[in-house]
């Protein structure tokens, strides 16, 4: 307590001493500051050497043992070491990434992190005994997880405080973290961060401390962050959390201090770039800060509108935005590989000069990353082991939000008569896979050998869409709202989600078998393709088949020539559907799943047969192709 008071007093004193001109940007005070267990808390003082692309940092860690175990070590993610060379587990099978050849990198272009001091309350420096461990693959050359043995055992419920020093050097951007030309810096996965000591499925507690493995992102505990960045004042700095202080450092030439404060985050990222222009706005209780490179200034309103739409939609359909602020970072095109990513309270977008408004790649990306503030930052499931839990929900909501505001046939793009909805794009990403049965969704990221995005993002989102269409959007919303309310600021797992789904379905007396459905979606490799095979008016039969082993019931709509119709149920377990109609009427068409509820169906075109097809659109599109030939011939004959 005394120490905390001393520390705070020191901070205030430092602030008065070092800063002459300053700007305060405060987040909304109505924001609830104690939503999580606050297990891992960090005060970090950063001294950025922008010329050396590195920073030396002082970190005060405050970590609480919430387990019933007595701990004798702390484990830290040291993920910047994944970019040390090509021997790390993350890069060892990679020679090219984002189109860059990594083989010929100079030493200067690689990054690393090193803890140089870790002093406990009794003054013991624990770094003497620190060692890198490799729980996943035993690759001794991988230094992405650090074990620091404790001098004094940490009892259940006890808090450990460590005074740490660490040096971090950024690589030239490979993927997200790194530096780019013209003093661009993105600091993510940049500090020694404590891994998660958790209750395992077998009932025992243990470290969840994966090395930086391909196909993995975040898993860490919630806590408070106070981050102070001393850097050259030509840089514009933004980051997770609220910027509480920004000003020049007295007695220095060209040095500034920027201070951030954030509560209940699982991580902290920050960015610096001299050319950023800052746009700010507020939506409800949420402050929005957008850092734009000058040539993209025209996109600031598109970023802003996408954030506002996301906030409006998600607050209505999921829950109140759990933070007071969001920072949107627009990466310069020369370091575009730092974009397309989410960090708690901060997202990186991506755009390029000249993208027309009718191509909503910017909106779709911003909406996706912002939705991660719910599914990742707040519902902090293990993205390494169960990436579908956040990416699946995020893509599902990306589809919903885009389609809601821009129409389900044209929300992604609408150019020269060619259109696509966002959900259509997600579904197509799954159904156009060379092998939709490539592998199951529910497995750790590093076990994927291709198909990661198509399965984790697209198939999961399409499966949620299918579930929504079967059980109804009201019940779906109730499930998600309950899930969010009950598990926000924790680490929910698949079992937690399933529990909520069953509870809400039961409450609404729905007979949807969610366990069977989710087992097939997540833990099997089965797919589904309904196919209408034949209408035979002489034998009075209709025949259809279900290709693939995914069992799900549906209905078949039979239309008769006299305009009447009949709906027949098709049991999910039956692969073959044969219906004999006794009436004297003639069948004109038969349609499996006429409302397209089963959006996972690999081919929707073959779900129906009609004996009186509407050929008009075929003529239209054939005529269009013919006309485009005439046009192209005429243009190109200029060359003759």
């Amino acid at each position: 307590m005394v120490e905390k008071w001393l520390r705070n007093s020191l901070l205030v004193f430092m602030t008065i001493m070092v800063v002459n001109t300053c700007v305060f940007t405060q987040c909304n005070t109505s924001y609830n500051q104690s939503q999580s267990l606050k297990i891992a808390n960090y005060d970090i003082e950063v001294h950025l050497d922008h010329k050396g692309k590195s920073a030396s940092c002082i970190q005060k860690l405050n970590w609480k043992n919430t387990s019933p175990d007595t701990l004798r070590e702390l484990r830290f993610y040291m993920y910047m070491n994944a970019f040390k060379d090509l021997k790390s587990t993350y890069l060892k099978n990679t020679r090219k990434m984002f189109g860059q050849d990594l083989k010929n990198r100079t030493k200067k272009e690689w990054g690393h992190i090193e803890v140089t001091q870790a002093v406990d309350r009794n003054g013991n420096d624990l770094v003497q005994n620190q060692e890198y461990i490799q729980p996943n693959d035993g690759n001794a050359l991988d230094e992405t997880v650090l074990s620091i043995p404790l001098e004094m055992p940490l009892l259940p419920g006890e808090v450990i405080e460590l005074d740490m020093n660490f040096d971090v050097k950024l690589p030239r951007t490979i993927v997200r973290s790194g530096y780019g030309p013209r003093d661009f810096f993105l600091f993510v996965h940049w500090f020694p961060q404590v891994c998660v000591y958790e209750l395992k499925v077998d009932g025992n507690w243990g470290w969840n401390s994966h090395q930086f493995m391909p196909g993995t992102e975040f898993f860490s505990d919630f806590g408070d962050y106070n981050v102070e960045i001393y850097a050259s004042d030509h840089l514009v700095i933004g980051g997770s959390g609220c910027k509480t202080f920004s000003g020049k450092v007295l007695g220095t030439i060209g040095e500034q201090l920027v201070r951030f404060q954030a509560h209940d985050l699982i991580d902290f990222g920050w960015v610096a770039y001299p050319e950023y222009e800052t746009y700010t706005s507020t939506y409800g209780d949420t402050d929005i800060e957008i850092l734009m490179v000058p040539e993209h200034y025209a996109f600031a309103d598109r970023y802003l509108k996408a954030i506002e739409q996301s906030l409006e939609y998600l607050e209505k359909h999921v829950g109140k935005y759990p933070y007071p602020k969001i920072t949107v970072v627009d990466p310069p095109t020369h370091t575009l590989n730092s974009g397309f990513m989410e960090y708690p309270m901060m997202i990186t977008g991506a755009t390029a000069y000249g993208i027309p408004r009718s191509v909503r790649s910017v909106e779709s990306l911003v909406i996706h990353e912002f939705t991660h503030m719910y599914f990742m930052a707040s519902l902090a499931s293990n993205e390494k082991e169960e990436a579908w839990l956040d990416e699946g929900f995020v893509t599902y909501f990306e589809d919903r939000i885009l389609d809601h505001y821009y129409g389900n046939q044209s929300s992604l793009f609408d150019v020269l008569g060619a259109r696509s909805g966002n959900a259509q794009q997600s579904r197509n990403e799954y159904v156009s896979m060379e092998n939709p049965n490539l592998g199951k969704i529910a497995r750790p990221g590093w076990e994927f050998d291709g198909g990661f995005k198509s399965l984790i993002y697209a198939k999961t989102a399409t499966a949620f869409k299918t579930m929504e269409r079967i059980i109804g959007s009201d019940i779906m919303d109730e499930i998600i709202k309950t899930y969010f309310e009950r598990y926000k600021f924790t680490h929910p797992k698949e079992a937690d989600l399933r529990k909520i789904i069953k509870e809400v379905l039961e409450k609404n007396t729905s007979n949807f078998d969610s366990d069977k459905y989710l087992n097939q979606v997540l833990h099997a490799t089965s797919s589904i393709n309904f196919k209408m095979v034949d209408i035979n008016n002489s034998t009075k039969t209709i025949e259809a088949i279900r290709e693939g082993n995914f069992e799900i019931g549906t209905e078949v709509l039979i239309m008769f020539k006299d305009g009447s119709s009949k709906t027949v149920n098709w049991e999910g377990s039956e692969k073959h559907f044969k219906h004999t109609f006794s009436s004297s009427k003639e069948v004109i068409s038969a349609h499996i799943d006429p409302e397209q509820k089963i959006y996972l169906d690999l081919n929707l075109n073959n779900n129906s047969i009609t004996l009186d097809p509407n050929k008009k659109p075929l003529y239209k599109y054939a005529a269009k192709l013919g006309h485009w030939l005439q046009a192209v011939s005429q243009w190109t004959s200029f060359m003759m």
Binding site: P181, R182, V293, E295, T333, H334, A352, Y353, G354, Q409, L416, G417, A418, R419, G421, Q424, Q425, R427, N428, V431, S432, S589, H591, P594, N603, L604, N605, N606, N607, S608, I609, T610, L611, P613, N614, K615, K616, P617, L618, Y619, K620, Y621, A622, A623, K624, L625, G626, H627, L629, Q630, A631, V632, S633, Q634, W635, T636, S637, F638, M639, M640
Partner: protein, 276 residues
């Protein structure tokens, strides 16, 4: 100025038989592609109820499901499309021979069209080949250094905005150069009709172009601009029409063909303007 435009317009319109002939050739080639496309689409989704959905407007899932299931459809249509374009380019040398000689002589008959097309075909072919080589050389001079010097474009330019404007600038520069060569080739062909000697005609064509460069250049650029406007109008107004009824399909086809005719008329107008 307006009188001149009206005068050239009426001359172009008087060439309606030639216009119809060129249009007819394009229509035949376009119809071949249309029939191929119809058969392919019909074979893939011709008995599906999804066609009703498609009748109300473009539906991406119907097309992507069709292409996923039958990827060869697109390859097939693409290859036939390319073949037909190449075929038209070959034929257009002959078609231009008839058209340009008719315009030069002030003939309007289809008989003269074929007669002169026969006479001048090979000489015109040589002009076309020479101008094609020139066009390729000019394009190479503009673009090869660009691709050689640029390296990693974003390291070189720092911002994609500079890159985009550089590319746009080079595209415009290429178009401006191509227009000069095109004008020269048309004027040379007119001189061939007068003098019947290839090199002399090309020299005369060049002299004529230089002597009255601004006027010819405005015609050349105007022609390109009109084509762009026509295409923009078409995509804005017509291209997205639905297929709710047979009437809308028919109206779409009629409008498409009107646009095709207008394009050819504009070209004939341009040739007449160069001749004047």
């Amino acid at each position: 100025m307006w009188n001149k435009i009206i005068d050239i317009s009426s001359k172009a319109t008087k060439q309606w038989k030639s216009i119809l002939l060129i249009y007819g050739v394009q229509l035949v080639l376009g119809s071949i592609v249309a029939v191929i496309a119809y058969r392919q689409f019909n074979g893939a989704i011709g008995s599906s109820l999804e066609l009703d959905r498609l009748a109300n407007g473009f539906d991406r899932s119907i097309f992507s499901d069709m292409i996923n299931k039958f990827p060869v459809i697109i390859e097939h249509i693409q290859s036939r499309f390319a073949l037909m374009v190449v075929l038209f380019l070959m034929l257009s040398i002959f078609l231009h021979a008839g058209l340009l000689s008719n315009i030069r002589y002030g003939y309007y008959s289809i008989f003269k069209y074929f007669q002169n097309a026969n006479i001048y075909f090979f000489k015109f072919l040589k002009v076309v080949l020479i101008s094609l080589i020139l066009k390729i050389v000019v394009l190479a001079i503009i673009w090869v250094p660009f691709f050689m010097l640029i390296g990693d474009p974003l390291e070189t330019f720092h911002s994609e905005k500079t890159l985009i404007f550089t590319v746009i600038g080079l595209v415009i520069l290429s178009a401006l150069c191509l227009i000069v060569i095109w004008l020269w080739s048309v004027l040379s062909r007119y001189h061939i009709v007068d003098e019947n000697r290839l090199l002399v005609s090309m020299k005369s064509g060049w002299r004529l172009l230089i002597s009255n460069f601004a006027r010819y250049y405005i015609v050349g650029c105007g022609l390109i601009l009109l084509h762009v406007i026509i295409t923009w109008l078409y995509t804005l107004v017509v291209d997205d029409w639905g297929a709710e009824t047979w009437f809308t399909v028919l109206a779409l086809v009629i409008m498409q063909q009107l646009f095709s005719l207008i394009r050819i008329w504009i070209r004939v107008f341009g040739y007449s303007a160069v001749n004047d």
